[in-house]
């Protein structure tokens, strides 16, 4: 794709963004909306610039929690999917509970993980992020591992390939696109988990504490800038995994 084509592809989205910001800015000015409901984008931007070091550091702190939770949750999700794909009986016994568990609003566990792992460290936030990440990765990976075409299995069996060979050469590669779908969902969830965890107590230089605290001390522009930083980290994380996906996966892109 040429740079020109690429620019054209992004143009509509850019227009929407600019329009949204302009309307936001003007609506607040025209209707004199109170600052604590929504500050103007320009005010948020200048606050971000003034406090960028503090905000980005807080974002980095929270991102570390998200990343840790992501690593733990995704690893466990993949591991569980591998076990359940290999021993279907176990899967049939556990699947209803896995689905039921995924329906529990995990965020409600935040105060409990704080009690288990201590409210001040990164561990309790990682725990929430990990639980949030677990289910999409687990469900998608399992679906990928079990959605292999029967002909592929017959082919491998005709070579007298063992279960391990079939796993390595067929199930896992087939599952990879779905695994990445799960991982991409997990990137966003891990940031949410970390920030919500911080709402229930944490280090003052964590983003969730900062957003919540600045809101309480009437630094609304700071709170909004913090939300912006959270978004930026979330999107960057998502794009990083998407890039990894592009490297890892051969095959016709399903997006184009």
């Amino acid at each position: 794709m040429t740079a020109r084509r690429q620019a054209l592809d992004w143009a509509p989205a850019a227009v929407v963004l600019v329009l949204t910001l302009v309307i936001w800015q003007e609506t607040i000015a025209v209707f004199d909306i109170k600052r604590f409901l929504a500050p103007q984008p320009t005010a948020i931007a200048s606050t971000f610039w003034d406090h960028r070091s503090e905000l980005l550091h807080a974002g980095w702190y929270t991102f570390q929690e998200a990343l840790g939770g992501f690593a733990i949750g995704c690893s466990l999700g993949i591991l569980a999917a591998l076990v359940l794909a290999r021993w279907r009986g176990v899967g049939r016994a556990l699947m209803p509970y896995a689905i039921a568990a995924s329906a529990v609003p995990i965020i409600a566990f935040a105060p409990i993980t704080n009690a288990w792992f201590g409210p001040f460290g990164k561990t309790s936030k990682m725990a929430i992020a990990a639980v949030l990440c677990f289910f999409p990765v687990f469900v998608n990976t399992l679906r990928g591992l079990t959605s292999v075409r029967p002909a592929s299995i017959e082919l491998m069996r005709s070579y007298a390939a063992g279960e391990i060979d079939i796993f390595r050469r067929v199930r896992i590669p087939t599952a990879l696109p779905l695994l990445f779908t799960g991982l991409k969902i997990a990137t966003v969830l891990s940031m949410i988990g970390a920030i919500v965890g911080e709402y229930f107590g944490g280090s003052p230089n964590a983003l969730g504490v900062l957003i919540n605290s600045r809101n309480a001390t009437f630094d609304f522009e700071d709170a909004w800038a913090g939300i912006g930083v959270a978004c930026a980290y979330g999107i960057a994380f998502y794009l990083a995994i998407a890039a990894l996906e592009r490297i890892a996966l051969r095959g016709p892109s399903t997006e184009d």
Partner: protein, 260 residues
């Protein structure tokens, strides 16, 4: 010694209590090209899979190179080609061909030599680094055939490999297959529902009838070994096509008689 010996083979599927195959007797000699033809539901694909030890028979025996089928599969005596080429999109063409060799534990350099040889054989030299989805359906099937031949199996089992292709491609691939068969000196069991294809390719055509699947007739194809585009215009070819067709119809009438 026969490559394949089938004796009193019966297959009943538990689900729906379907008698798929009944009392099949068949022997296939080295170097033969045997087609299994019949109406859908006659169990020809099931028979192929039983020979390949992908399905277990209810009763009777299958011997391949004098060994029971499971043993033969463990010894890598089978090369299989399905209607769908079953190429893995995450592997290049060359890596797809090399897949069985990886499973068999061949080292890298040996694999590469063999894959190059095979791609030349199926006239896909230079396509090794392509991705499967960049190839046409016919080319994909040639990759699948190369893959099946890669470890030199004694027996090539092909399940309607050209069924999804257009007529032109199919005829061209028929010729290719004959050339490859001659070059590889393997024994082929070929499932098809095309009479023309069966007659053109085979040394023998096994005509099957449906419900339950049985061998209705075996037609010896006495066309000369070297066949070409002109073979399809020979009188003998037409006679044999007619003979297979009649055998098929007879089988169908037999079905109806049984049904009544």
């Amino acid at each position: 010694m026969s490559v394949v010996e089938i004796h009193k083979l019966t297959k009943r599927f538990e689900r729906g209590d379907v008698l798929a195959l009944q009392d099949i007797e068949l022997a296939i000699e080295p170097g033969e090209f045997v087609s299994l033809i019949g109406p859908s539901g006659c169990g020809k694909s099931t028979l192929l899979r039983i020979i390949g030890d992908l399905i277990q028979p209810t009763s009777g025996t299958v011997t391949v190179n004098g060994k029971p089928a499971p043993r033969a599969r463990a010894d890598h005596d089978y090369g299989m080609v399905f209607q769908d080429s079953v190429l893995f999109e995450w592997r290049t063409v060359a890596k797809n061909v090399a897949l069985p060799l990886e499973v068999l534990g061949w080292d890298r350099s040996r694999r590469k030599t063999r894959v190059d040889e095979l791609l030349e054989l199926v006239e896909l030299g230079g396509f090794g680094d392509h991705n499967p989805w960049q190839l046409s359906g016919g080319m994909q099937m040639r990759v699948a055939i190369a893959r099946a031949l890669s470890f030199d199996p004694a027996l090539l089992l092909m399940d309607e490999p050209f069924g999804a292709l257009d007529e032109m491609t199919r005829e061209r691939l028929n010729m290719e297959l004959l050339r490859i068969w001659a070059a590889s000196k393997s024994t082929v069991v070929f499932v098809t529902h095309s009479i023309a294809e069966a007659v053109f390719l085979s040394t023998r055509v096994v005509v099957m009838s449906a419900r339950p699947g049985r061998v209705a007739d075996v037609v010896e194809i006495d066309l000369p070994a070297s066949r070409g585009a002109l073979t399809r215009e020979e009188t003998r070819y037409f006679e044999l096509v007619t003979q297979v067709r009649e055998a098929l119809h007879l089988g169908a009438e037999l079905d109806e008689a049984v049904a009544q």
